[in-house]
Amino acid sequence: MGESIVLEIARYSPERDAEPHLETYEVPLRKEWVVLDALNHIKDKIDGSLTYRWSCRMGICGSCGVMVNGEPKLGCATFLSSYAGRKRVRVEPLRYFPIVRDLVTELGDFLAKLKKVKPWLIRTDGPLLREGEYLQTPEQLDDYRQLSMCINCTLCYSACPVVGLDALFVGPAAIALAQRYNKDSRDRGAKERTLILAHPDGIWGCTFVGECTRVCPQHVDPAGAIQQYKVGSALAWFEGLIMPKKRRKTEDRHGAAAD
């Protein structure tokens, strides 16, 4: 048997524990092993009661997000070898979420917020589906493509202090996904999303900490998307002030007042 590494894993049993505690497990330090492999090893060989989410183990399902040494990470994309020098690797459930059990977080609140911003194509006018597809130029695709890479892994929520401080804050991924559809040339739903986005609990709650963007495994830039929406909202507000008639039209796209 070769080298090994010690994992400190947060355990919480709703039946037994008042709060989570850390337990240590020693696992082989294999070059090709990621944190998720270590968790699977523990569940198979050491303690079958360890509870965590995972599915694709290739960074696309977004279910194995955990805090690794205080950083939100995908368990399947975080190699143990990069922590080889450390004595211990601490694995905890994603920060700022209620904990269901061990490493499993409660996603109901996130999913409700996600639904609120209507992250789907809204289109009531225009040709019917059977008359063919909506055409889009490569430039129009570029406008939103990076934002569409989001896998709902919620790492950005665990990175964002405002999410932790303000339970009503819509949060990075939901706002970025709203922008993904706002920027889609086929979509006409920007005005509907304004009510949720141009709101103190929406974009105005964001203080541009920028951590959401830093931890995103898909290189989405939620922080940038939110600031761009703020600029648009501010400009729309001024346009409305100077040209009240034009107000309705620009608000459709950016949304100024939440009144």
Binding site: Y12, P14, E15, R16, D17, A18, E19, P20, G70, R95, Y96, P98, I99, V100, R101, E106, E139, D142, P161, G164, L165, T207, F208, V209, G210, E211, R214, D221, A223, G224, Q227, Q228, K230, V231
Partner: protein, 141 residues
């Protein structure tokens, strides 16, 4: 069926979630958070510099004697120290502001978003030119 004697508050159909609380000192827990708070607090030193400018303006309004007295006060070691600390934060504001601007403004040329450094770089150039021009105006004479 025997029930265990010490059952914590348990909801039959609902797991008892643990809700972690965020400490008031959350911004001390992580370097990036601390850096963020310092960036936001740079605005306090921006405001201090404005207050210094307002006081200077008041001294000019009050006349040559008050102006000379104010110059003298600015040279006190304590005030110099405050100015030095302010300078650190004010520069921190300038640099972070310039570097974050391209994130908030997606500048496009011919349908393509231009790289972030290309949006940030002119800011630095303009900053140097403007600072030089203001210095010349104040110093001349």
């Amino acid at each position: 069926m025997q029930q265990p004697t010490k059952v914590p508050h348990y909801t039959k159909y609902h797991p008892r979630w643990f809700r972690p609380r965020v400490s008031v000192y959350w911004w001390l827990g992580q370097w990036q958070y601390l850096r963020f708070i310092l960036r936001e607090l740079s605005s306090v030193f921006v405001a201090l510099t404005v207050i210094m400018t307002l006081l200077e303006l008041r001294a000019v309004v009050q006349g040559p004697v008050a102006y000379a007295r104010f110059q003298h006060q600015l040279a006190k070691p304590g005030v110099i120290l405050i100015s030095l600390i302010s300078l650190f934060f004010v520069l921190f504001h300038t640099i972070t502001w310039f570097n974050l601007t391209p994130r908030a403004m997606a500048v496009k040329v011919a349908g393509k978003r231009i790289p972030e450094w290309l949006v940030a770089a002119p800011n630095y150039l303009i900053w140097i030119v403007v600072s030089g021009a203001i210095s010349l105006l104040i110093l001349r004479g």
